[in-house]
């Protein structure tokens, strides 16, 4: 009952929830009984759901997967989609490319699923692209950003429901320029595809908004001493420092910036500050947070009022588990799947589901901006909010910030 009350409340602000709550209005006997694709009958539709459920990257996917499953369970309690129950088969992909592809092959050939939904790590999610395209199976990523799989877009793969790295880079510069009035931006990213993707979007947005990138430092994920990049930022006389590295190097950079007397505002990407309290501990000095902000693709603080309904849904489904900050990221992709199944009509095929996914456009009630997909747009989300963080307290900054980079020069 609690779930229904909370989700009904959320439905006021979330189109997806509104659609889901109307599921019973569709005629349960609308199915024809003749299906060309596997994984669908008059009574059920089968989804292969996977994420890292063990191993060192389990934290990215475990709660996200079970949040998605809780969403499907909630839809089933309300009558399912076009009268069909969603049956979910869960598997552990360990965030390993080979494991993920093996899991998907098993889902498709043995379990005969209708569609694939999963993946919390870009490098493994990207590995699936060739297999799903060859077999024409719809693949909706769970919470992987998956830049290399959605840029350039391909027909069967949808991802970045929490935002791509282009979203990260574009929105963070949008915030730095529009909210912090930055004119000279220093940018520290990783020297990999992630860094290339977010820094390209950052550079584009800086140019578009009339700001200058005065230092762009690319560092290894395994960097030990960040003195050199921070010194170069200081020498560049930037008026804001943007960090899009992972949390370990980001903590070292913030610590070193303070030690070297760098007093400009620092804006960190979501991947740099996945758990703000832990990040503050790792930096170890509250004085380093005098002028510090972090980005988030959510519509509120992780435990903020707008996030409560999804936290409550999860807790009601799994009373013995305390969700980690990645939990909420699992739901938007599940919402998109349900949305597209509804839009695909009472007798969906994999191809009509793909066509419906290509028209998805709704507010999740979870994310900062809408989920918008298209024929040439397979990345779901393009917005961020920003939070001022002093090491203990969080204050959401006004406004939602958007990325406008679509790969153009």
């Amino acid at each position: 009952m609690t779930i229904v009350r909370h989700t009904t409340k959320a439905a006021i602000i979330a189109t997806a929830v509104a659609l889901a709550s109307n599921a019973q209005a569709f005629d349960p006997s609308a199915g024809t009984g003749k299906y060309t694709d596997p994984g669908i009958t008059d009574k059920e539709i089968v989804i292969g759901l996977h994420a890292p459920l063990s191993g060192r990257l389990k934290g990215f996917g475990f709660d996200a997967l079970y949040a998605a499953k809780a969403w499907y369970d909630m839809i089933n309690k309300r009558g399912g989609v076009w009268g069909r129950k969603i049956r979910v088969i869960v598997a552990d992909d360990k965030c390993s490319p080979t494991e993920l592809v093996a899991v998907q092959k098993k889902f498709v050939t043995v379990d005969k699923v209708f569609l694939l939904h999963g993946g919390s790590c870009t490098h493994s999610a990207v590995a699936a692209q060739e297999y799903v395209t060859r077999n024409k199976v719809p693949y909706v990523m769970l919470n992987a950003s998956g830049d290399s799989a959605v840029f350039p877009p391909t027909r069967y793969v949808f991802g970045a429901f929490g935002g791509s790295q282009r979203t990260v880079g574009g929105t963070i510069v949008d915030f730095a320029v529009r909210a912090l009035k930055a004119k000279r931006i220093a940018y520290i990213a990783h020297d990999d595809n992630y860094g290339a993707s977010n820094s390209a979007a950052g550079a584009f947005m800086a140019k578009k908004l009339g700001a200058e990138m005065v230092a762009v430092e690319k560092v290894s994920r395994k960097i030990v001493d960040v003195t050199a990049p921070v010194l170069k930022v200081r020498a560049a006389r930037a008026d804001v420092l943007i960090i899009t590295t992972y949390t370990g190097p980001a903590a070292l950079i913030v610590k070193k910036a303070h030690a070297l007397g760098l007093k400009i505002p620092i804006v960190a990407a979501v991947q740099a500050v996945p758990i703000p309290a832990l990040f503050a501990k790792n930096v170890g000095n509250p004085a380093a947070f005098t002028n510090f902000y972090y980005g988030s693709p959510l519509n509120d603080l992780t435990r903020g009022p707008k996030q409560q309904w999804i936290i409550n849904m999860y807790k009601a489904a799994y009373p013995d588990r305390k969700p980690n900050p990645f939990m909420a990221y699992g739901v938007p992709s599940a919402q998109a799947v349900v949305y597209a199944l509804m839009m695909a009509g009472p007798n969906p095929t994999r191809e009509s589901f793909i066509d419906a996914m290509s028209k998805v456009n709704f507010n999740t009630g979870i994310l900062a901006g809408p989920i918008e997909l298209g024929e040439k747009k397979r990345d779901g989300h393009n917005a961020s909010i920003f939070v001022k963080f002093d090491g203990k307290n969080h204050a959401r900054m006004k406004g939602v910030y958007f990325n406008q980079y679509r790969g153009q020069n």
Binding site: G55, R56, I188, E217, V224, G261
Partner: protein, 300 residues
Amino acid sequence: MTGTLILQGVASGLVTGSVYALIALSLVIVFKSTEVINFAGGEFVMLGAYVAMFFLVLLGLPYIIVVPVVALIVFCIGAAFDRVILDRVLGRHRPGQSIMVAMVIATVGLSFAFKGTVRLFRVSDNVRTLPPIFSTDPVFLGQVVLSRQDIAIFVIAVAVMVLLFSFFQFTKLGRALRATSENPRAATLVGIPVRRMRTLIWGIAAALSAVAGVLVAPKLLVSPDMGGVIILAFAAAIIGGFTNVLGVIVGGVVLGVIENLVGLFVSSKAIAIAPFIVIILILMVRPQGLFGGAAPIKKV
């Protein structure tokens, strides 16, 4: 401006390099005594950091107690590895067979075992750090800025190296260990219990790595993968000479400084590859390292 950058880069490089040197020392003393390259050296560093985290964060003990306790615990683990595993590997050795591969594989196996064990605990799910030894507020030394923490790391690393040097140079046990490493057969003939000495060396090397782990934690952060720093220790050892203790210390410091100067004057991207380029250059020009040379005493 360039002068200040160089000075700053050198100062920070000295701090990082001193920790590389400490880890490299643990590799070298094992290699000199047993001719085994310890591929689990990085995991001893990681283990030291996690054990320290247990005592510092969960039990709230001060560093002054935690550092010796961590050193003792990891010493026992290192010594036990030699007694329980390496001893048996050596025992199965048949004349004419190369024992090196088996020994190296044993250390590689140990490194995976350590990482896997740590990952069983939820504490390893996220990157963490240890409470600061001192404040991370800046201290200005002329135009150079360091944190109190950096200065503490450097001082402690140097103190540990001096202690180790004194132990090997001026104590009876230390001299026995050196004799064992230089010529085990001759050491046996003069009554030194070589097997026990070898166990002691493994314990000391493990303890040294653990102390380095406590020191490097604020710079590297604590995660099951932090043992990857061993690659930099190998680089330091190769630069200095794998058989020369003083050379290894110099190698570590040189490496720390090179990383920063490359980052400042070439590219931040090049920091990660600089140690490997240096290794290749050293191996091409002077394979025995800057300070390495033929052993002064030929083995009997």
